[in-house]
Amino acid sequence: MASVTLENVWKIYNHGQKNAVEAVRDVNLTVQDGEFIAFLGPSGCGKTSILRMIAGLEHISRGAIRIGDIVVNNLSPDQRNIAMAFETYALYPHMNVRENMSFCLRARNWETEKIDTRVNEVAQALHIEHLLEKRPSELPGGQQQLVSVARAMIRQPNVFLLDEPFSHSDASQRVIIRTEIKRLVNKTHTTTILVTHDQHEAVAMADRIMVMNFAEVQQVGTAADLFHKPANMFVAGFVGEPAINFIKCKYAKTSEQVSLVCSEMLGCFPISQEAAQAIEAAGVDEVMVGIRPQEFKVTTSDKGYIQGSVSFFEFLGEEGHLIVDSNEGQVTAVTDPYLDVKEGDSVGLIVERSEIFVFDPKTEKAICHGV
């Protein structure tokens, strides 16, 4: 087990040539010993390139990567004692599951009994005991992926790397598999890095999440940090479902009060002195207000910060989604599944002022969390 440290790491494909592409730009990160961290971002954001550099499958263009205290830039993958599970399984087709799982142990000349014990232990933990004698080709994609994870977990590596390990499983299977992996990782306290584009996976599994976009780190933090203190509009929009409501507002100061007046909707938000100072310090007249759908409470139309009419209401079992039209705009609120409204009803929406985020629409950076 070991920590992983990235110091000013860059990945530049076709370095020095005209068609050079900066896939990873100046990433700094310390993954603590035993920590579970997720790299989250849309496809092409650079998250897999970082993972491959840690694994030793990709040359590090600039900067240094340490595993424990050792700089690994010039170490081959097998000298790094890492284990990786691939999106594409990479299983040996001519071996059954047991042989696939035990391959690296046999290569290290483990005793047969020890190998059997370990294979059974991991297979049990991931609920694949009944598949041990099958060939990969006899299994559906989701189970092949699980075998790939099992093979990576079979020896106790310094660092465990997972590259989109659930992408081929269906939704409810995915929930079960991720639970099992989490349980196994909890037991062994192995430093784990998960690459995923699925925010639910990242939020459910990781201690901390590194959000990336366009080759750069956008924010590193716990799920709560990303939900309640998003660093910029990208993080606010990418994390959270349904997506955060962005509401264009004008900064308005009168002798009595300061407020943010909605430009395209019917509504305004009173704000505190501190928030007003932060907005003035940013030097903007127009701001983008961000409010998560889960933070809205539905009230009568005369009371809300935002007034509008019900566009439609979705009963979704565990929760309800209320879509409210207000002038030219539309906002989404997550509600009780049994909310008693019908199309066209006038409603107001209120929200705790601590959960109103203000962003600079030009730089897209957060000005303040809470007004």
Partner: protein
């Protein structure tokens, strides 16, 4: 607008039976969703309605007329496909004008252009009309595919997983759009999906189908709250419903249920569920609990509560999902907040207040 009905339809593909004796009828203007896992027979059902697959047995009716032997192009239905089925090298406009060519009495050129523009505006692709389809994103192609099915004003829309290739964010917006279109056009629609959220959101009624058979037809509330069997209960809702075997007992005149093999997990059911269970004293019933319905506490609550240890905790969007052992079973409980709870700590579960989903030992709804 029209009604479509399938009566006792069976489809055999060689030795495999794709549909077994399916019967249903849409209402006029209804949005009917067919929900089921991969391979359940959803798309086959749609193809039977479209006239692309002929039933081995059974009949298909449109507005009372038997159309079983009528080819698809004469049925005035429009179908969109999961893989779009657009002409990749054609422009959007050419793709949208194409269906007119298959009509017996196509409208005039001017009418066609006006219709294409109207539909393109409705789906917000009017700025893309001269772009080639192979230069568009998946979400845009999906809209073009929807638009093409709308230009000829069919009597019935048939949608095959139209949102399966768009990402979660866009899917939410597209659901909103489909709501808007459905209420604006009021055209009878049959919509196939494997995603229960889409089904609950869009359907006036939902047909749940599995292994070629209908398991239940009902409104979203009926499917969610009164599932006909354990299969249906598991199809809707995430995390999945918890279902365990309980013994039904009568003790000192009080009705009790007791988790099989874990007598200390017991409670007195009352209300409607109580009167159903009273008919099964001495037997074993399967009781389902939705994860968000279970009352829980991290400190002792009352004598009914079952005390157990938290095996696993994960954030579930803005809530938390706790996994705790109930005897030898794992129980999933959805918490109200995203406040972290430590794995290994004690939790008290009060099952007596949760709405109960009752099934017999073979998994059918108990009444």
């Amino acid at each position: 607008m029209a009604r479509v009905a399938l009566k006792n339809v069976t489809v055999d593909y060689g030795t495999t039976v794709a549909l077994k004796n399916i019967s249903f009828e849409t209402e006029d203007g209804e949005f009917l969703v067919i929900l089921g896992p991969a391979g359940a027979g959803k798309t086959t059902t749609l193809k039977v309605a479209a006239g692309l697959v002929k039933p081995t047995r059974g009949r298909v009716f449109m507005d009372g007329e038997d159309v079983t032997d009528k080819p698809g192009n004469l049925r005035n239905v429009a179908m969109t496909f999961e893989d779009y089925a657009l002409y990749p090298t054609f422009s959007v406009r050419q793709n949208l004008e194409n269906p007119f060519g298959a009509m017996e009495n196509p409208p005039t050129k001017e009418e066609q252009e006006a219709k294409v523009m109207e539909v393109a505006k409705m789906l917000q692709i009017d700025h893309l009309l001269d772009r080639r389809v192979d230069q568009m994103s998946g979400g845009q192609k999906q809209r073009v595919s929807l638009a093409r099915s709308m230009v000829r004003q069919p009597q019935i829309f048939l949608f095959d997983e139209p949102l399966s290739h768009v990402d979660a964010k866009i899917r939410h917006a597209m659901r909103a759009e489909l709501h808007r279109l459905a209420s604006a056009m009021a055209t009878t629609t049959i919509y196939v999906t494997h995603d229960y959220v889409e089904a609950l959101s869009l359907g006036d009624r939902i047909i749940v189908i599995d292994k070629g058979e209908i398991r239940q037809i009902g409104t979203p509330h009926e499917i969610y709250h009164k599932p006909s069997c354990e299969f249906v209960a598991n199809v809707v809702g995430q995390p999945n419903i918890n279902i365990y075997p309980f013994l039904v007992k009568q003790e000192n005149g009080n009705l009790m249920v007791e988790l099989k093999d874990t007598p200390q997990c017991n409670f007195s059911p009352n209300g409607e569920a109580g009167s159903v269970l009273a008919k099964h004293v001495g037997g074993v019933v399967h009781i389902g609990f939705r994860p968000q319905d279970i009352r829980y506490s991290l400190t002792p609550i009352n004598s009914h509560a079952f005390s157990t240890k938290i095996e696993l905790y994960e954030l579930w969007g803005r809530r938390g999902m706790v996994m705790a052992l109930l005897g030898e079973h794992e129980m999933r409980v959805l918490t109200d907040t995203d406040t972290r709870i430590d794995i290994g700590s004690q939790i008290w579960l009060d099952l007596s207040k949760a709405p109960l989903y009752l099934f017999d030992e073979s998994g059918n709804q108990l009444t």
